[in-house]
């Protein structure tokens, strides 16, 4: 108790302006440490293609991407970005599906979060088993009349995290902030079909 009084005594005599300055310096340090006043990134940290991205309940690798079109000859165009990924679910029970909006493709001004089964993939898009790393082919359909000209030669895949959302009726997971962005070369593979 006596020791505390000895330290507090001289501090108490400091002019109030110094206290205000000290608090401001500490606050500025905290803000700086937390990322400053710049707007929060909407793409997460940059990750190289093929590197592991860790989220609350997934280990993901975004391997490559291409612009494809599986539509039959003489049919309306049906372009899509085909993304090869490797997924490993880290939960404890087989999960039906990837959360909508967890993966996002940005290509020439179009932002796509809806996925569909790729014809070439023998893997079902249903069923993500705990601890099993599986290579999958996902397709993100594009608006065919909104394809940019010239076509970009790169595509960005954003991975978002999830957090548990518990309610009286249903326990679920909610998609949250972007944790990683993968910038990939995107070949135009439509002519090869």
């Amino acid at each position: 108790m006596t020791g505390t009084s000895r330290v507090a005594g001289p501090l108490r005599r400091l002019p109030p302006v110094l206290w205000v300055l000290a608090v401001a310096v500490v606050a500025a340090g905290l803000v700086s440490a937390l990322g400053g006043f710049a707007p929060a990134s909407d793409r997460g940290r940059s990750v190289a293609p093929g590197d592991q991205i860790l989220t609350q309940r997934w280990r993901l690798h975004i391997d490559d991407a291409a612009l494809v079109d599986d539509s039959p000859p003489n049919a309306d165009p049906d372009p899509a970005i085909r993304v090869r990924v490797r997924t490993e679910f880290t939960g404890t029970k087989t999960l039906c599906c990837l959360s909508e909006r967890m993966l996002e493709v940005r290509f020439g001004g179009q932002v796509v979060t809806r996925t569909r089964t790729a014809d070439e993939d023998v893997r079902s898009t249903l069923g993500y088993d705990p601890g099993v790393l599986v290579a999958r082919v996902l397709e993100f359909p594009l608006e065919s009349d909104a394809l940019p000209d010239p076509l970009p030669d790169r595509v960005e895949v954003i991975v978002r995290d999830e957090r548990p959302s518990r309610s009286l009726i249903l326990d679920d997971w909610r998609v949250t902030h972007a944790v990683a962005g993968v910038d990939l070369p995107c070949a135009d593979d439509r002519a090869r079909r």
Partner: protein, 186 residues
């Protein structure tokens, strides 16, 4: 008047607190409580709607699907079963593989034509459930078969079959699962 309002607000706060507490401590109803009937491969077990026998179990690193060989980074567990529908139609919606770590796996839908189909009472189906687990995850695994879901699901019995897997390396070469079949129960 003020006292009545205060009492009412306290009751409301108490009720909300109770609801919050129940939400926090209530068990996960995704997994209804079960009393398990333990079986081994070759033994028949009966629950409300079905009598099920696991006839054989194999593990493999690869299987064929749509004429393509699919290789797992883990192991495929291939479980052949024969099941009699006893009272009501059975669609086998509650079938899982449980590992020693209590992780639960559902049958892979790539081989849906091999799975026992919707079976009417008086008929028997033969089929195969295929599970994919991490390497080493098959050892000591059990097959869990539960009754068909109903409007009110609660305490019930389920079948728990010890698949007799000891962690031996999976069978070399790709297995080709057969399509399921159904016949009148003999």
């Amino acid at each position: 008047m003020t006292t009545d309002r205060t009492r009412g607000l306290r009751l409301l706060a108490g009720a909300l607190g109770l609801v919050a507490l129940m939400t926090l401590v209530a068990p996960d109803l995704d997994v209804p409580p079960r009393q398990w009937v333990d079986l081994t491969v070759g033994e028949q077990g009966t629950i409300r709607d079905i009598a099920v026998t696991v006839t054989s179990v194999e593990t493999s690193a690869s299987l064929t699907v749509r004429d393509t060989e699919l290789t797992s980074t883990g192991v495929f567990v291939v479980v052949d079963v024969v099941a009699d529908a006893l009272v009501d139609p059975v669609s086998f919606q509650r079938v899982q593989l449980e590992t020693r770590d209590a992780d639960r796996y559902e049958p892979r839908s790539e081989w849906i034509s091999a799975q026992p189909p919707l079976t009417q009472p008086g008929f028997t189906s033969r089929g195969t459930w295929i599970f994919e687990v991490p390497y080493g995850g098959a050892r000591g695994a059990h097959l869990l078969v539960e009754s068909e879901p109903r409007e009110f699901d609660g305490y019930d019995r389920g079948l728990r079959v010890d698949l007799g897997l000891d962690g031996s390396p999976p069978k070399p070469g790709a297995l080709e699962p057969r399509d399921a079949s159904t016949w009148v129960t003999r």
